[in-house]
Amino acid sequence: MSTTTNTVAEQVRSRYQPQHPSHLRKRYRSEWFFKIYGLVSVLIGLSFLFIMFTSIIWNGWSAFLQANLKLEVFLDQKKINPDGKSDLNTLRHVNFKSIMRNSLYEQLGLSGNLKPKIRRQLNKLLSRNADMQIREYVLANPSSIGKTVEVTVLAHGNVDAFLKGSISRDIPSEKRQINDQQVEWIDQLVSSGTLVMKWNWGLFKFGASSQPETAGLLVAIVGSIFMMLIVIVLAVPLGVAAAAYLEEFAPKNWITDIIEVNINNLAAVPSIVFGLLGLAVFINIFGLPRSTAIVGGLVLTLMTLPTVIIATRASIRAVPRSIREAALAMGASKMQTLFHHTLPLALPGVLTGTIIGLVQALGETAPLLMIGLVAFVVDVPSTLLEPSTALPVQIYMWARSAERGFVERTAGATIVMLIFIIFMNTIVAILRRRFESKW
């Protein structure tokens, strides 16, 4: 019995007592190592942040530039509108393709009879939809018919990728998407100033497309904005109402407990399960159309609600009791106290919670996949009931296409989304700083 006590005491002594200077040094060394482990962990976390942003910006900056051809186009009246009309219906039947192509041939000093094979290779320098740009130009400037004008049209996606260096010159010609002949032409066009890189407005102007150069984010941005609006309109009033009830009115009983447990759990339910709910309830039972902003907005509202409720409750709780009691003492009803005093004072917190919820909803992808927002939508939706996509879903769809032009656009779209998110987070930071509570 006594021997065991002794050994334990010895063990303790040998562990904790600095009997030896060398022992102390060892302990300090392990102290130092422990600290360094911590610092290294922090740095690992930060370096991943850094690597991720760098990788995305590195891959994505070029999406904001696009190869364009400045063509001198002769808009021959005989070919366009012999009868002098210049409305959309007339212009729709005009073969702008051949006009545009001829201009390109001239620019390269190739005219007369070209072999069909050469022609085909030349035509592949132009975007497939470039003739629409000339048509739009003519529609906007009817007076240009009969003159020679400079029109800027999109180059083909491969030309763009070549100029950005993602199709390398070192690859043998037969394996490259752009052959040696075309490389020669491209060099010629660049040196004559015809082929230039310009800011890529198309990224914000176009909808879905199978060609990278005419694929844009407009439908996705509009869809995301629609869904954000629905979330704001529904989640904020509902969330604030629920939070106010739970904080100020609810009796302490098992029903309230159930509600609270539910809210905390919903905040942690995998987002994809909300997608299943949306599919089964909103689409199959309520009969709302698939792939639309309204279903997406409703699902995102349900997901954001717990966040808004939790944040609002915290900020209502932070309002001191004395303010409520003062109002009640002046004869205000509980409801009046809430609406006239407590809620206005809690507003900054409510706003912060709402924006955090919105950021979360903006980046949420999985539930939107379930309700069919993965659609190829070319036209911008003008109502909530038309097919649409969302920014993160567009990223997902582009991420799955193999073409180099789409990889770059995926990263570009990610940058756009991150800019939105950073912008919203900045608002949160400003709100927090400006309205930091004074009590």
């Binding site: 300090y28 102290e31 690992i44 009115f249 759990n265 299943l276 709910l277 609600l305 980046g363 799955r400």
Partner: protein, 491 residues
Amino acid sequence: MLFIVLGLVVAGLIAFIVGVARIKIATNINPTIKMHSRVGYYGTYSLIWTTVPALIVTLLWSSISPHTINMVVKADIMKSAPQLTKAEHTLIMGHASLLAERILALNLQKNEILLSAQRSMATAGELFQFLKKEGVVFGGLPQPHVISAALNLVVLKEQSLWFITSIASVLSLVGFLYAFIRVRPRMQARNSVEAVVLAGFIFASMIAVLTTFGIVASVVFETVEFFNHVSLDNFFLGTTWDPRFTSADLNRGEGQFGFLPLLWGTLYITFVSLLFAVPIGLHTAVYLSEYASTRFRNVVKPLLEILAGIPTIVYGFFALITFGPFLRDTGAILGFDITSTSVLSAGMVMGIMIIPFVSSLSDDIISAVPQSLREGSYGLGATKSETIRRIILPAALPGIVGAVLLAASRAIGETMIVVLAAGIAANLTINPLEPVTTITVKIVSQLTGDLEFNSPQTLVAFALGLTLFMMTLILNIYALYIVRKYKEQYD
């Protein structure tokens, strides 16, 4: 629908003004009676009676009517064509609703179409000719029954709209009159208005419960449907995942819906991510809460929070284009054969996502350990790291376990990272350099694409979803319980 709501809004505004006017006139006539509430409450009282009942009925009706109409039409199809199979009925129904949408979109003199449809003694061919003349676009002569079902749909939809419009107007009018009679100076308008607002509050807080209920009900319903097609042990004990997508395969026996490879993949990736994230996250939390200067902390914490706020699709894309290929190339140099969608790369990227989650939760928990414990330890001569390792971490252990469980539940339910960064094939492998797939990946792949709702191939997604929901629910409840217990301990 929209115009009913707009009409109710206008009616509500009018009712508000009328209510206010009425109470003012009443007090002007007899100034000796004191009003119970402020003027606005009488207006609001009138507004509530005019709009709220009508609005509730409208919303209820418009949420059930599409389903009911479909049921009615479907029953009709079954009655008129009992010889066809269930799948064919569904097909006819699908075509009919498309056609009905096209007819409604035409927006021509609806009465004419309605009348001709109600006189539906006309044969399918005649109706077809009639609709074609009116400008409905057909891809070809539709199957028999489609046209009549479509017209049936159109008629019912029109009738339903008429019905709800008239009900809403009647309700609104009755409510308005009731309020008009009730509004008197002695009436306790504020109490009534506040009671309604409170009811609204209670409804809003019930939505969370309704959502949970909706999730469970809808998912369970479809899951039961799934298990009508596929046996329980095929799903829960099967080791092969091969759902056979095309309906042409239907008569070649049922597909294999083995759940185990998916479960294994999910748990494996989660395990790798925790293995990566927990040490880093924990050390980060310890460093930030015990060692770092306030300035360092103020800079680093928000930066780590950015990491937590980045949408997971961005992590997935990062894994797809940067991290996966990087691991593959590094492996190639070292002589390992790593596929770019390996368990390792998906797990590590998921780990990056979880780091801030683990660190901020453990940070809270470590801060909750009472200062007296630290000081006691320092007083005995322990160094800082000894205090942390021998005193603080053991004291915080339950809380940290809770945090890790919460992180695990998050990793299990995470979708976008694994959809882009993990494999498609359901492998039962313990090699971390090979790809596996997860539950969430399979839910996505079974439900995107063309939906044919009654096949086990799509229904399986709901069975998977239910399993996922239960797994995360149990983890969450248990973790929250531990964390709460732990916090109580030191309160």
